[in-house]
């Protein structure tokens, strides 16, 4: 079965009519955050109550993707009135249904005009919280797969790459490599067999952007991959997703089977000569498999360990064939670029970082959750305006971006615009988009120790500097937090960080010292206090005596 654009529009129209036939639509967030607070039970009891009252022909309960404000889960959005309810329990079901058509239940209302919602500009996550991720029809009703149709029928491969290049999109996985350039490189290779891989092995502590996109809008990623396959000349795609995301895997598999059923994946998509298939591959819990060469080794069934680059996967990747590897969020941006044009995306963001970025706010912040903001938004806006500031009246101390490969950014850089270059300038990286906020009660040496412990246990052990270096640095940091270190240890710590940064084999080892280096740079007094005064300035390292 092959679709054409009329079929696609028909599916969209039928779906729109079906949805709009319901006067009231109750959207229950069923992404992992709210699910863990029992949103599935809530959804069931809402459905039961609706059918008990016999109002199911004008009131519809839907499971939708992430609504963003994870800390207030389970969240409910009343689609017609635009009201958000937070922290809803089964006991509130009757009140909510009673209020239909009238004024909202005031004790549950989550102010949807708060900066958290107002200041965001949702592009990648435009459908998150608005469509049922388990129904392809709802994605199509929102204009889904139209981008793929446009690309396949009205654009040449070169034109597609041209649009991506114009958009200025850069890889959302961390390093920020220009996506258009990567696509062009793969498209230029002469091999007849090429692969497209979606890297969904999100492993940074405190990061859950990719999970949320996959759980809330899986078709968007699949569409982006298909467009990439067309542009680069690949006919097989792989999504490498970590097994720790069972819900994302389930929804992805469901989405793939739906797309295959409609002929949006498979042979001769939209009656063209283009064929594309996607398979899901599960990671086995290794952080280093987010590194592209280790990821490829893992898909090939070998040990997930990186190999030296060059050759880069773009010319010599999966099973020795040219391979395009992009992050979930990168692929999720592609359908928009095709539909609205590259110039449109290039109009958003800063000079060198275009578009929007999804961040996961975590740590000591009021509004824990997912946000999508234009590049160039200042850290102050993110933490204090959108994030709602620090709870319990504590003082802001630092924000950690980029996971274990990133650094801690102190207060003096709060007004810095968040883009790839500025973050690198202060010693951190964009990374996949995790932001961990720390207040005055966090000891920065302890924070550095935490990240180094993570890197130590996740180091694959292939190259010596990373295998032994992470352990040595971790031991030194433990010594410092235990107040047993000497000034010579501090010098050795810096020496080891420099060694790892310059001689490690892959990105994990090269960037693992970043949390240590940035904290050494901006919070040196805390290290010195541990060493000279034998006390923790933040009072976080427990076995120590208080500051006199």
């Amino acid at each position: 079965m092959t679709l054409n654009i009329e079929d696609l529009h028909q599916i969209a129209n039928i779906e729109k009519d079906r949805i709009e036939g319901f006067q009231h639509r109750i959207n229950v967030c069923v992404a992992a955050g709210c699910l863990s607070c029992g949103s599935n039970i809530l959804k069931e009891s809402l459905e039961k109550e609706v059918s008990r009252r016999g109002i199911d022909n004008w009131c519809k309960v839907r499971g939708v993707g992430c609504l963003g404000l994870c800390k207030a889960g389970p969240l409910i959005a009343m689609e017609t009135s635009g009201t958000y309810y937070q922290g809803v329990t089964v006991a509130d079901v009757t009140d909510i249904l009673d209020s239909l058509g009238g004024s909202p239940v005031s004790r549950l209302v989550c102010p949807s005009d708060a900066p958290f919602f107002r200041r965001q500009s949702r592009l990648v996550s435009e459908n998150c919280g608005r469509i049922d991720p388990e129904r392809i029809e709802e994605y199509i009703a929102e204009g889904g797969y139209e981008g793929l149709y446009l690309a396949l029928t009205e654009m040449t491969r070169q034109e597609v790459i041209e649009q991506v290049t114009t958009s200025g999109l850069r890889g959302r996985g961390g390093a920020g490599f220009p996506t258009g350039l990567k696509w062009r490189t793969v498209s230029k290779t002469t091999d007849v067999v090429k692969f497209v891989i979606c890297n969904a092995d999100e492993g940074d502590p405190g990061a859950f952007m990719d999970r949320s996109v996959l759980e809330s809008d899986p078709h968007r990623v699949i569409e982006g991959m298909a467009v990439a396959g067309y542009a680069t000349g690949a006919s097989q795609g792989f999504i490498y997703v970590r097994a720790e995301y069972p819900l994302a895997v389930k929804r992805l598999r469901l989405a793939l089977s739906q797309a295959e059923r409609l002929g949006l994946l498979g042979n001769n998509i939209f009656n063209t000569t283009f064929s594309f298939n996607v398979k899901v591959r599960l990671g086995a819990g290794a952080f280093v498999c987010g590194e592209e060469t280790a990821l490829i080794a893992s898909i090939e069934g070998r040990m997930g360990r990186p190999r030296p680059k060059p050759p880069f996967p773009a010319e010599y990747g999966l099973w020795e064939h040219p391979t395009l590897i992009n992050n979930v969020e990168t692929f999720a941006t592609i359908p928009l670029i095709i539909r609205k044009g590259g110039a449109w995306l290039a109009g958003i963001g800063t000079e060198k970082s275009k578009g929007t970025k999804v961040f996961a706010l975590a740590g000591r912040i009021v509004n824990t959750g997912l946000i999508e903001i234009p590049m160039g938004t200042s850290l102050r806006d993110i933490v204090f305006d959108i994030g709602g500031g620090i709870p319990d009246g504590k003082r802001f101390k630092a924000v950690q971006t980029g996971g274990p490969s990133g650094g801690c950014i102190p207060e003096q850089f709060l007004d810095m615009p968040v883009d790839y270059e500025s973050l690198v300038q202060v010693g951190s990286i964009m990374g996949s988009g995790g932001m961990i906020v720390m207040d005055e009660s966090s000891c920065m040496v302890d924070v550095a120790r935490f990240f180094m412990e993570f890197c130590m246990s996740e180091s694959c052990g292939k190259c010596v500097p990373c295998r032994v270096g992470t352990r040595q640095i971790h031991d030194l940091l433990c010594k410092i937090t235990a107040n047993q270190a000497t000034p010579a240890d501090l010098a050795m710590l810096e020496d080891l960080c420099d060694l790892m940064k310059n001689t490690s084999l892959c990105g994990l080892g090269q960037s693992a010292p970043n949390p240590v280096l940035t904290t050494l740079n901006y919070f040196r007094d805390e290290y010195l206090s541990h060493i000279h005064d034998k006390c923790c300035l933040a009072g976080a390292c427990k076995p120590l005596k208080e500051v006199p």
Partner: protein
């Protein structure tokens, strides 16, 4: 590692294309598929190595052979880096020598390398490297891990305290002998070489007892039984011989 892994780092190179570049301001020529290390050795320029062994696939993992390349801030391992036309390689800059020493020191701290009681004392590549690089003391803290000795095999024994995880044993067993008895378990600092599925070596059903692993091991980690301190001298003559008989065009094994 599995049998499907390509033996060479890459198979898409054209050995008939030639290029010239510079190592330490000396003009040298190379085929496209030759590594910087191979070219350096052809021109009598010594780059220290540890995990590399002529005749086995490259790993680029020990980082001892790192070299500096003019115009690049990154230090690249000579064993897996291919030269480019007009590239300028510096093998013994102060920066590189300093890092090599530190890496070697890290290896010494990782396990319990006690030369005075080692079967390979005096014939050990790790020891020789330390002499060559002038490592007279170790500035980092010794980790003193607890590792065991597996002496269950009738002719050989493995002492994990002296292993540097170069994986030469794994590669020679897989690539030359074809048995793939050796492999690696764990990750990071806790990784360890194992026989079969972490069974005692003596009970291994795949081990052919050829002893190639013992002969390629750079340290005293793998040794023949019955050897006392400083008596274990490795014999590697079989490796270039086998390469030649199998018609592979690798560089002759050198040292």
């Amino acid at each position: 590692m599995s049998n499907q892994q390509p033996k060479k780092l890459r198979t898409d190179l054209n050995p008939s294309r030639l290029l010239t570049f510079k190592i330490n301001d000396q003009d040298v020529s190379a085929r496209e598929d030759e590594s910087i290390l191979a070219i350096a050795r052809q021109n009598d320029i010594t780059i220290p190595t540890l995990c590399h062994l002529d005749g086995l696939s490259e790993r680029g993992a020990c980082r001892i052979c790192i070299v500096e390349i003019k115009g690049s801030v990154k230090l690249l391992p000579a064993c897996v880096t291919l030269p480019r036309q007009d590239m300028e390689v510096i093998t013994h800059s102060e920066r590189v020598i300093c890092y090599r020493k530190k890496i070697l020191e890290l290896i010494f701290t990782e396990r319990n390398h006690v030369c005075s009681v080692c079967v390979s004392n005096g014939h050990c590549e790790l020891q020789n490297l330390a002499v060559e690089l002038g490592v007279s003391h170790v500035r980092y803290n010794y980790l003193y891990p607890r590792h065991g000795v597996d002496a269950s095999h009738s002719r050989f024994s493995v002492d994990h305290n002296r292993c540097v995880l170069c994986l030469r044993c794994v590669r020679v067993c897989d690539e030359i002998e074809g048995a793939h008895t050796w492999d690696l378990m764990g990750r990071g600092i806790t990784s360890r070489v194992i026989t079969d599925l972490n069974q005692p070596w003596g009970t291994s059903e795949t081990c052919t007892g050829c002893g190639k692993c013992v002969q390629v091991c750079p340290t005293g980690a793998l040794s023949e039984k019955g050897k006392s301190v400083a008596e274990m001298i490795k014999r590697r003559q079989f490796l270039p011989y086998l390469q030649m008989m199998r018609g592979r065009h690798e560089e002759p094994w050198q040292k």
